[in-house]
Symmetry: C2
Subunit: 415 residues, 2 copies
């Protein structure tokens, strides 16, 4: 039996037990996980050093190495994240509906764990712990397949966590790490219907598209964000400039950062140069439409391919539009349905934008950077869903649950 199948089966074998654990038992296990991360800091750092050394030998980029790199402070923050999950309310066994039918049947709809969750993600050791704590808190078994550039770190972390679980009420087999670095181990996971209940991909566009295109197991698509900000004619300069600047520059590498700024021509006439100047000072390259170039001589031309690109970088598309309709049309064409914003003082335009734009989160007069589980008050998130089924937007603990109807009768039969 392959590593993937044997580990997925071992995870599945724990689901009945996991579904019956009390909140206290789950929290106790999570606290032991957090403690174990701190207690084993030295071993984890040594394993991480191995990944970094291998990465340097193989010429891995500095930004990827930084994502992989752990420090005592980062390990402490990761353990703290687990304790935050301990503090979140447990959605399992929540009763969502009850009814008594005319024939006397009592029907109750309860939240239950999904079962076995497969996580496919890039080389980020922090995601290993985040995903484990969120899935286990909701009574799910989890099979992790992280990027191979962090394999040594992940192996050490998962061993530490499983060792902690083995001293708790939670079965250690509920947490599995696929160590096979070959792409075929991902391919195998994608087809394990009946064993994996869902796969959540987390990472760049190519990782996610590989999962979406090839999985037969249900997938929750996350992440890709080509987010727009539309500055309407009536927008206030300071607010519009702050929101646009924040959405692009505060952290360009994340999915809720802005890629394209749409500006109403009337606003552009008055204020575009002031807005653009701020981007220039922050070393943001602007790729614009032909009209943009009339305002900003140093802008480069934007192509349709640019409008369809998630840069995750200090590059911004800029397009001048004649009205709200043109902005809406551009967004409909290029949006990945993640987060979209209008800055306007015109309530009717704001309402139309919020109503008509099809995205997980639509904003009026606030930065798209707020699409985030913590910012929304969910305390944590396993990802941001950009699909419309099951969960949309930041996914907190309830997104990791399913439901079950419990029907209690006294001999009812159907006539």
């Amino acid at each position: 039996m392959s590593e993937v199948l044997s580990k997925v089966k071992a995870a599945k074998a724990t689901t009945v037990r996991l579904g019956s654990l009390t909140t206290a038992e789950k929290n106790e296990a999570l606290i032991m996980m957090a403690d174990a991360l701190i207690a084993n800091e030295t071993a984890i750092l040594a394993a991480n050093e191995e990944d970094l050394r291998t990465g340097k030998e193989q010429g891995t980029s500095a930004s990827l190495l930084d994502r992989i790199k752990l420090t005592p402070a980062r390990i402490a923050a990761i353990a703290e994240g687990v304790l935050q999950v301990v503090g979140l309310p447990d959605p399992i066994s929540e009763i969502l509906e009850t009814s008594t039918r005319p024939n006397g049947l009592f029907i109750e709809k309860r939240r239950v764990p999904i079962g076995v969750i497969g996580m496919i993600y890039e080389a980020r050791p922090n995601v290993t712990v985040d995903a484990a704590s969120l899935c286990l808190k909701t009574g799910n078994a989890v099979v992790l397949r992280g990027g191979s550039a962090a394999l040594s770190s992940n192996r050490c972390i998962v061993n530490v966590l499983r060792d902690a679980l083995s001293r708790s009420a939670m079965p250690a087999d509920a947490l599995q790490l696929i160590e096979d670095p070959k792409r075929s181990s991902v391919d195998e996971m994608l087809k394990l219907n009946g064993f994996l209940d869902v796969i959540i991909p987390r990472g760049g566009a190519s990782l996610i598209q590989n999962v979406v295109q090839n999985a037969t197991v249900p997938v929750i698509e996350t992440g890709a964000g080509i987010c727009h900000t539309f500055i309407d004619a009536t927008a206030q300069l300071a607010m519009a400039s702050d929101i646009a600047f924040n959405a692009k520059v505060q952290r360009p590498s994340v999915c809720n950062a802005m890629e394209t700024l749409l500006v109403h021509r009337a606003f552009a006439n008055e204020h575009l140069q002031a807005v653009a100047e701020r981007f220039r000072e922050a070393n943001v390259e602007i790729r614009g439409c032909a009209v943009t170039h009339e305002f900003i001589g140093w802008s480069k031309p934007a192509t349709d391919e640019d409008y369809a690109t998630e840069y995750n970088d200090y590059i911004l598309n800029l397009k001048i539009v004649n009205d709200l309709d043109e902005a809406l049309e551009h967004i409909r064409r290029f949006s990945t349905l993640h987060s979209e914003c209008i800055v306007t003082e015109d309530q009717a335009n704001a309402e139309r934008f919020l109503q008509e734009v099809d995205a997980a989160a639509v904003y009026h007069n606030a930065s798209t950077r707020f699409t985030d589980g913590f910012e929304f008050g969910y305390g944590a998130e396993i990802g941001i869903s950009t699909q419309k089924l099951h969960a949309r937007g930041p996914m907190g603990l309830p997104a990791l649950t399913s439901t079950k109807y419990r029907v209690v009768g006294s001999g009812q039969i159907r006539s």
Copy 2:
């Protein structure tokens, strides 16, 4: 452009308008659809006659022809079904959560339509109308691909409905029928990510598996039901016999009918012959384990393949088990996670069964035949989900919705 792509695009172009329709406008359109079905009875019956004639020429089975056949009474019942959907509450724009964050952001989570729904189903003209009315009531566009044996009926019905819509506030293009009878038109639908938001297959196991195995568009898996009833040691004879008989015989062709009866050995010792006799009188073939044969000389042997088969027929698997654990283990192995029942007077066993069995609906002392949108009080259903994401069990109108976060600020940026 192919028929599929052009019709899906035409449907997608209506979604902004659909999402903004009032409940009154949608209901008015549905009433016009119902009226039009009655008014065009003659044309629909003539088109149906064509399907029946073609079917007979091609040697189509009598049961399939019966499913295709329309009569004035059936058309009236179908139209009445549309009016029942009119009477259901409209979930769109329902506010599911609101919060004001410490930074003053106001966040509202609202129900919105999913967008464009693809329905792939067998030759059942009634499903054409059901799916259309449920999807349109929830502000979704719908692209129907029904079995080609009912193509003439479906074409006539959809023309009648689109003609009715063209006189309403709802765009006629929101309702599309794929007429290409080739399998390639289904294949094309399965890959239309970005155009179709979800595909719901409805029909037999092979139709559903084709969709699940080949779609890259998100799928809501429906239908397949290998449902079990477990008669525990303490079950009352009359209740157990009634529930088991009802679950198998009342309508064997449907997904919530029982395929396998598990009987505790202590109950079997006392009562199995009485229970079996009733099945014999109803011409139900029993395929049993070796122990079953000791009780029922006329039973045939059951194989693992039998236990894994959804007969939808007057055939029943029967297995004698020594205890609840053995019953749970059998169910875990063969269940399709649809509907599972325990008949018992032992509350602890009942609770354990309801807790541990992983299925959309779990029953204590009632027939599995109740897993149904009407029986659950949802008024209608588009199908019964056997997957754990998005919706599980009977899917009423809320299962045809997604959500959107509307975030209203006053210039908030992230620090």
